[in-house]
């Protein structure tokens, strides 16, 4: 069964994607940047505006659809992935974007999250990870680090956080990436890559909640230190980072560590791990950098492989069934099996 490929009839602009609703996030919230980048990238994706749907759950981030002048659905808490699944299966022509928070998709929505990934339905997920529940005013979330003091954990949280890329990989994800609210260019690139990937694209976005969790990602965004703390992944390239691009990731056995590749050191670029988006093991290793003091935080595409896509197979089955049994004929179906006539 063929999909309908439609293209826009005119060049779209950012304004085409801006709705008439006042944006109601706190001034300075990281969500604004994501909105801006999405509105910047979408016009250029070659998709008619009416084919975009933004689907969200509940949370600050989940107000997103109201601000986009596309079709939009503001769901209930945690269920955006399941709603999007029904939409995509119902109409595979749509370009569906799930907008969700760390609470929405990893706490109450954790189950739909992992099932969406394993089904590999061709939708895009933007997970706004601010490591806090914003909308309910500041409780710790499943991505808050152990010991986090919040209103609901006055003596500190007791549970190990999820590591979203690791969880996604464990759930059989075919595309895993990360970006940061304060890096608009990189974010745009990641949004574009998400779109290009056929299958579920999972993009984690580090997003600062300046009201309830300000500075959570400061070490990855402060000009002074960010280059020493962030590892920008590039496919086929050795893993180099640092202000002077003098550090890199070396794999000793299975253990990743940071080495200096300064001019006089013992290490050179050749000792570094080369990123391979198609390598599940490398992606797994990278996913474990999160929350570790001794390793930089990777951003970029961790993993991207082609796997069968649920709705492609579904359409195939429909097609095959038609070939096998003929296009459904209700009269025939109802009159099949043992029948008899009473006069």
């Amino acid at each position: 069964m063929e999909k309908n490929i439609k293209v826009p009839t005119k060049q779209l602009t950012r304004m085409d994607f801006t709705s008439d609703q006042t944006v109601k996030w706190c001034p300075g919230c990281g969500d604004y940047s994501v909105l801006a980048q999405v509105q910047r990238v979408m016009p250029d994706l070659g998709i008619p505006k009416e084919n975009f749907v933004i689907v969200s759950g509940i949370g600050c981030s989940s107000r997103f659809p109201y601000y986009m002048n596309t079709y939009g659905f503001h769901g209930i808490h945690g269920r955006a992935s399941a709603i999007a699944t029904g939409m995509k299966l119902s109409n595979p022509d749509l370009s569906i974007w799930i907008v969700t928070g760390d609470g929405d998709s990893l706490s109450i929505g954790g189950n739909h999250f992992i099932h969406l990934l394993r089904r590999n339905i061709d939708v895009n997920m933007l997970l706004f990870n601010n490591r806090i529940y914003g909308l309910t005013k500041g409780q710790y979330s499943p991505t808050s680090p152990l010991g986090k003091v919040t209103k609901s954990t006055p003596m500190g949280s007791l549970d190990h956080p999820f590591n979203p890329p690791a969880l996604a990989l464990g759930a059989h994800a075919s595309f895993v990436a990360r970006t940061i609210d304060k890096e608009p260019k990189h974010m745009q690139e990641m949004i574009r890559r998400s779109h290009q990937h056929h299958g579920t694209s999972f993009l984690e976005i580090y997003q600062n909640c300046l009201i309830f969790n300000d500075g959570e990602f400061a070490s990855y965004t402060d000009k002074e230190v960010k280059h020493d703390n962030v590892l920008v992944l590039e496919h086929g390239q050795p893993m180099i980072f640092g202000k002077n691009r003098d550090k890199g990731i070396h794999l000793a056995g299975n253990r990743p560590r940071v080495v200096n590749i300064g001019s006089e050191g013992q290490w050179t670029v050749n000792d570094l791990l080369v990123h391979d988006e198609k390598d599940w093991i490398i992606a797994s290793i990278l996913s474990h950098f999160t929350y570790r003091e001794d390793l930089p935080t990777p951003v970029g595409v961790f993993y991207a492989v082609q796997q069968t896509v649920y709705e492609d197979l579904l359409l195939d089955q429909c097609q095959q069934a038609v070939e096998l049994k003929g296009a459904g004929d209700l009269h025939e179906l109802m009159n099949s099996g043992d029948t008899w006539i009473v006069k």
């Binding site: 986009m68 002048n69 399941a82 029904g86 939409m87 299966l89 429909c318 008899w340 009473v342």
Partner: protein, 611 residues
């Protein structure tokens, strides 16, 4: 010895055996053969919650009851005239309900000391006087099938398994049923295993021949075709009829059908059936849980499908929050709830009518949803179709209540003519003449909002679970707007009454007692009515289809009767609704036993009222 052929009108038989004995299948085959003869019939499968409880145990007994007749019937019958007991446990469990003087066909091979003990028989009932008031046919079926398959190269286990076909053959002889459909069915079902076809066919024939030659059988029976409405018939189960009803609504509305569901007894078969309709481009989605089942359906509805989800009680409980979302986004959606015994996991394989409250009230806030019920297996088709009609016309979720009895039970069904089913026009926004699309603009009469589907240029809009401004659908916190919207939503659902067919009272249109039933209790109530009317009692019967909203003329009708009797398989949920609505005091008959009412339960209750 020449055998006698006796004409009779009406028979109830029950097949009972171990879970592994194939009783459901045997019942199904007998049902098919009976349907084709043209008898009216009604069935009641009854199986344990375990897949295969310990062989020979009381809890492992699986049964299938079938009532057939040369006149119109409404229920699977109270006390079977014939019991087929494949082992001691089956005899023990079902013996009490057998009509006194009835017939028992027994597979004696299974009456071993071990099985007797498992069935908690101290002495062998075949040898003491337990069965003295019955006509008993003890047959060593296991030995007989071994004998007929002797020259075949198949395992003893396989041979033993054919004994249900032997029993079926005996019954076919006894009630003069044709065997060809069964043989044809065997051939299709085991197309790849000819030796199984052969063994089973031999066993079937052997049973038939045994009946016709063995000295113990002196009489067989003929039950003439019933005078049914003319038409082409098939036998249909409720769950299959529901599936066809949804499919028909999709075809008639020109919408693709989406069904998101998580397996749960006794609703799972709907998923199984719909999954076979891929050539209709039906998209079934086995979700990770009930919440994903309903929310995926909501997504599909937003995207323009005829969306449905199906479940049973515990699953409906999980869908409550999402149904509120469907209410406030005003999207069309059919929720099928095949009720089973509760509360909680309760009695998963048994029937009940105790989810009525949950269907009407089980959500946060003021979240009204129309509720329709199906009265019989075949009626599930029409109820599902009607649920979809209302969902699409009023842009609302609609809950269809069926139950384990109606869902698994079956009856002969006139196949409707597709062309005569009404077209369904979804309430799509029609652009043109410069009309602006208002997501929450409303049809003045029905109050339905218009549907605009992603992919349509120019109708981009956003909806969701927050309260919205009348008309524009923009998020609104305005107090008066909220009151208005709450009221509008309630009024819209109240308006569905305009599509609810007026009540049909069977019997006198006024009088002493009106039996007011809903859903599947209609069967026992109608059967009771038949008998009571024959006895000259002043009784009438009304079965409710829509419970929310209630039909417009119901109040007036209730007023015409001195006493209202409401039989329900719950503690009085409809009764409570009737009390609240009409401020009358109905009599209640509530038996919550995991099974449909017996006709006699209802007759007794009416008799008590009439005094």
């Amino acid at each position: 010895m020449a055998k006698k052929l006796k004409h009779i009108d009406d028979v109830t038989i029950r097949f009972a055996g171990d879970s592994g004995d194939g009783m459901q299948l045997t019942g199904d085959r007998f049902t098919s053969a009976t349907a084709i003869i043209g008898n009216d019939l009604s069935t009641l499968p009854d199986f344990p919650a375990e897949i295969r409880a310990p062989a020979g145990s009381l809890s492992g007994v699986s049964a299938f009851q079938l009532h057939f007749s040369s006149h119109e019937i409404f229920s699977p019958g109270d006390n079977p005239d014939v019991l087929i007991a494949m082992n001691p446990a089956a005899l023990k469990v079902h013996f009490d309900e057998l009509a006194r003087g009835g017939t028992i066909i027994i597979n004696t091979a299974s009456f071993t000391p071990k099985n007797l003990k498992l069935a908690k028989y101290d002495t062998n009932p075949l040898e003491d006087d337990t069965l003295k008031d019955f006509v008993v046919y003890p047959i060593d079926m296991s030995r007989l099938v071994k004998y007929v398959c002797e020259d075949m190269n198949i395992s003893p286990k396989m041979v033993e398994r054919t004994k249900n076909m032997f029993a079926l053959g005996v019954l076919y002889w006894m009630f003069n049923r044709p065997m060809d459909t069964t043989i044809k069915w065997l051939k299709e079902k085991f197309a790849k295993k000819p030796e199984i076809v052969e063994a089973n066919t031999r066993a079937l024939n052997a049973g038939f021949n045994y009946g016709s030659t063995a000295r113990i059988f002196t009489t067989n029976y003929k039950v003439n075709a019933a005078k049914l409405r003319p038409g082409t018939y098939r036998n249909i189960s409720g769950n299959y009829a529901t599936s066809l009803g949804l499919l028909a609504a999709a075809v008639k509305s020109g919408l693709p059908l989406f069904y998101g569901s998580y397996p749960i007894t006794p609703a799972t078969d709907i998923l199984h059936y719909l999954a076979e309709f891929r050539n209709f481009r039906v998209k079934t989605f086995q979700a990770e849980d009930e919440i994903a089942g309903v929310t995926s359906a909501i997504g599909a509805a937003f995207a323009g499908s005829l969306a449905a989800t199906g479940t049973s009680g515990p699953g409906l409980a999980l869908k409550g929050e999402a149904l509120g979302l469907a209410v406030i986004t005003e999207l069309p959606l059919v929720i099928v709830n095949v009720q089973r015994g509760g509360p909680s996991t309760g009695l998963p394989t048994k029937t009940e009518q105790a989810d009525l409250f949950q269907a009407i009230y089980g959500r946060n806030g003021e979240a009204p949803i129309p509720v329709i019920s199906a009265r019989s297996p075949g009626d599930c088709f029409y109820a599902a179709f009607e649920a979809a009609q209302v969902a699409l016309k009023y842009m609302t979720p609609v809950i269809l209540l069926t139950d384990g009895y109606v869902g698994n039970g079956s009856e002969p069904w006139i196949i409707p003519n597709i062309d005569e089913l009404p077209e369904i026009k979804p309430n799509f926004f029609k652009p043109g003449d410069g009309r602006e699309y208002l997501p929450y603009g409303r049809d003045e009469e029905s109050l339905s909002r218009e549907w605009a589907v992603p992919g349509t240029p120019g109708l981009e809009h956003r909806i969701g679970g927050l309260e919205k401004e009348d008309g524009s659908g923009a998020v609104s916190n305005d107090p008066d707007n909220h009151h208005k919207m709450v009221t509008l939503r309630a009024q819209k659902i109240a308006n569905v009454v305009n599509d609810v067919t007026p009540c049909r009272v069977i019997g006198e249109q006024s009088g002493e007692v009106l039996m007011l039933s809903w859903g599947s209790t209609r069967g026992a109530a109608r059967a009771a009515l038949q008998k009571l009317l024959k006895e000259g009692k002043s009784v009438s019967h009304l079965n409710l289809r829509w419970i929310n909203p209630l039909p417009a003329d119901l109040g007036e009708i209730l007023g015409r009767f001195k006493k209202i009797l409401i039989p329900e398989i719950n503690l009085g949920q409809l009764a409570q609704i009737i009390r609240a609505r009409y401020l009358i005091e109905p009599y209640q008959l509530n038996l919550v036993r995991g099974r449909p009412f017996l006709t006699s339960d209802i007759i007794n209750a009416v008799d008590k009222l009439i005094g």
